[in-house]
């Protein structure tokens, strides 16, 4: 083993692994095969490290053991590397003799060599790689077929700036934010989200039903402070983040209502009675009311009629086209802030149309009516007088009680 000193290396070899620790300035690097783990020791330097520095040496060895344990003891086990699309990569076979004849396989199939897939000694160099190069590369001794090394490559991209959108369809209780990448990474990518309201950090809850979506509770209403949402996308090749900020009012957009009923009105060939219900996601329509926008047209025409409806979830169309099938939709908006919802699912309806007139002669036959019979007055004046007195007394008593109640 050689001594530590500034810029020099401590080398640790065994039959299984060969690890080098290099110290330079305030950096320590552990190099194992084609892996390099670099550490920056803040506020300290390793210039003074020497063979006598047991702590530094122990640190290096401990890290080496950790790396060994996490990556397997045998060079023959598969390791996974992430590489950027368009880059070049050299895969080492790791034979003890560089003159040994080897073959390389890709996902078990022999690799044909060309200018982009070069065999250089026992190493395989891939140039200008693409996502189709993702897979497992294995190096075998040509004659015995013995596996010498196996490497898995995943080719992808670092994430581009995420696109972040926030919206509240449940004002004033919660809002949600979604994110996506405009171009794929082809490798596993994770996302972190942080939300602030003024100076406060707010908890986010991952949505169980939607991928790439988090739910956040509004802290308060009528606030001057903006919400600031930062989404960071991170994978093995890099990271990128995006921040948006907004006032609570700007993101309020209900889900569309649902038309539940369209009724025709007898003898009214130009009327349709439309009823709808609030979106189920809107938490408190009584205290945070919605207003509505209705649109309708005959199916055969292009131009819509529009009418704004406030306070009530129904409206009677009075200018429908006679006898024509209509298409009807409704949208909703918070009565004070935000934007209109998308249009509801369309409902089709045709106004009442008169039936074919019945033959006049048949009408006359059936229109004979029975003479009216009136009620006959009760018999017996005495009995009537007595019952009247009793009724009057009861009424007086009853009204007296009511009067007491109102007082």
């Amino acid at each position: 083993m050689t001594a530590w000193s500034h810029g020099k290396a401590l080398e640790f070899k065994s039959a299984l692994i060969c690890i080098q620790c290099r110290a330079a300035g305030d950096k320590v690097a552990i190099i194992w095969q084609h892996w390099q783990l670099s550490l920056l020791l803040r506020g300290a330097t390793v210039r003074a490290f020497s063979m006598a520095n047991i702590v530094a040496s122990a640190y290096c060895v401990a890290l080496a053991v950790l790396v060994m344990c996490t990556r397997g003891h045998s060079g023959q086990e598969g390791r996974k590397y992430y590489k950027r699309i368009g880059s070049n990569v050299t895969l080492q076979c790791e034979t003890s003799d560089s003159h040994t004849s080897v073959i390389w396989r890709f996902n078990g199939h022999a690799i044909g060599h060309n200018e982009d897939q070069l065999l250089q000694g026992t190493n395989l160099t891939l140039r200008n790689i693409d996502s189709i190069h993702s897979g497992t590369y294995s190096c075998h001794e040509k004659h015995s077929g013995r596996l010498k090394n196996q490497i898995t490559i995943q080719v992808g991209n670092p994430p581009v700036t995420p696109t972040v959108l926030c919206r509240s369809n449940a004002y004033p209780e919660t809002f949600y934010c979604t994110w996506q990448l405009s171009s794929p990474t082809y490798i596993p990518t994770e996302f972190d989200i942080s939300v602030r309201h003024g100076e406060k950090e707010i908890e986010t809850i991952k949505d169980p039903n939607h991928k790439n979506r988090c739910n956040i509770r509004f802290l308060e209403m009528f606030s001057t402070s903006k919400y600031m949402v930062t989404v960071t996308a991170r994978n093995a090749l890099g990271s990128n983040s995006s921040t948006i900020s907004f006032n609570e009012n700007a993101i309020v957009k209900p889900d569309p209502p649902e038309i539940i009923e369209v009724n025709t009105i007898p003898d009214s060939p130009r009327r349709l009675e439309v009823k709808w219900r609030n979106p189920l996601t809107w938490p408190e329509p009584d205290s945070i009311p919605l207003k509505y926008f209705l649109r309708y047209k005959p199916v055969i025409l292009d131009d819509w009629q529009h009418v704004e409806v406030t306070d009530v979830p129904f409206h009677t169309i009075t200018d429908a086209y006679i006898g024509k099938e209509h298409i009807i939709q409704v949208a909703a908006k918070d009565s004070e802030v935000g934007t209109w919802s998308e249009w509801s699912k369309a409902v089709h309806a045709t106004p009442w149309t008169p039936t074919v007139p019945v033959d006049v002669s048949e009408e006359k036959t059936s229109s004979v009516s029975e003479p009216l019979t009136g009620t006959t007055p009760s018999v017996g004046d005495n009995r009537q007088n007595n019952s009247s007195i009793r009724v009057e007394s009861s009424m007086t008593l009853f009204l007296g009680m009511i009067m007491i109640l109102f007082i």
């Binding site: 308060e220 402070s225 205290s287 009057e392 007086t396």
Partner: protein, 205 residues
């Protein structure tokens, strides 16, 4: 029908007529208030942009922001949803009365500042004048609504401007912006409060 019964009927009808007039009046007052606040809101559309445009640099820049700035003593509109939702009608009317009583003083302050700082901006001065004058009918209606609830007339608010310094022009312009910003938020809060009260008629005493 006997005279006794007739008299009783008349008395009861008169009494019932008297009972029904209180909720009807309360509903009418609330609706008037609701509509009136809407007209005040319409007047404040574009108010902040108009104000900033008339203040010069840096206020008229596209990246001007007063995020995180606050004027001490100004009634604050922000409130957690549940706390706002659980307020009684009386509390809502009282807090609105107090808030707009204070805003009468603050809007006068903005007007005085702008008369000195932007004397040639006649359209802005006219608008600010109207905003201040609009609060008198609003306060009158709020007092009437409180009266329906048999609440005493609210006591006058303490002058919020007594301890104010005379800051530099920049700070006075900024102060005006903060006042107008909060005023607009209060109008939204008032409309929402009235909507809640109207959704449960008559006024809960």
């Amino acid at each position: 029908m006997s005279p006794t019964l007739t008299n009783l009927c008349v008395v009861i009808l008169l009494r019932m007529g008297g009972q029904e007039s209180a909720p009807v009046e309360a509903d009418r007052l609330l609706e008037e208030l609701h509509d009136y606040v809407r007209t005040l809101q319409d007047k404040t559309q574009g108010l902040l942009d108009t104000y900033l445009l008339n203040q010069g640099v840096p206020f008229n820049g596209s990246d001007f922001s007063a995020e995180g700035l606050w004027l001490s003593g100004l009634p604050r509109a922000s409130i957690p949803y549940r706390a706002w939702r659980n307020m009684t009608d009386e509390q809502r009317l009282l807090e609105n009365h107090q808030a707009y009583s204070l805003f009468q003083e603050y809007l006068q302050l903005v007007l005085d500042d702008q008369r000195e700082l932007s004397p040639n901006r006649t359209a802005l001065l006219l608008l600010l004048n109207q905003l201040r004058d609009d609060l008198t009918p609003l306060l009158r209606r709020l007092t009437a609504a409180l009266s329906v609830l048999h609440q005493a007339r609210p006591s006058p608010v303490e002058d919020p401007l007594g301890s104010l310094d005379a800051p530099a022009p920049f700070q006075r312009r900024l102060r005006g912006y903060l006042i107008l910003r909060e005023y607009r938020l209060w109008l939204i809060r008032t409309r929402r409060s009235l909507a809640v009260m109207m959704s449960k008629a008559p006024l809960v005493q």
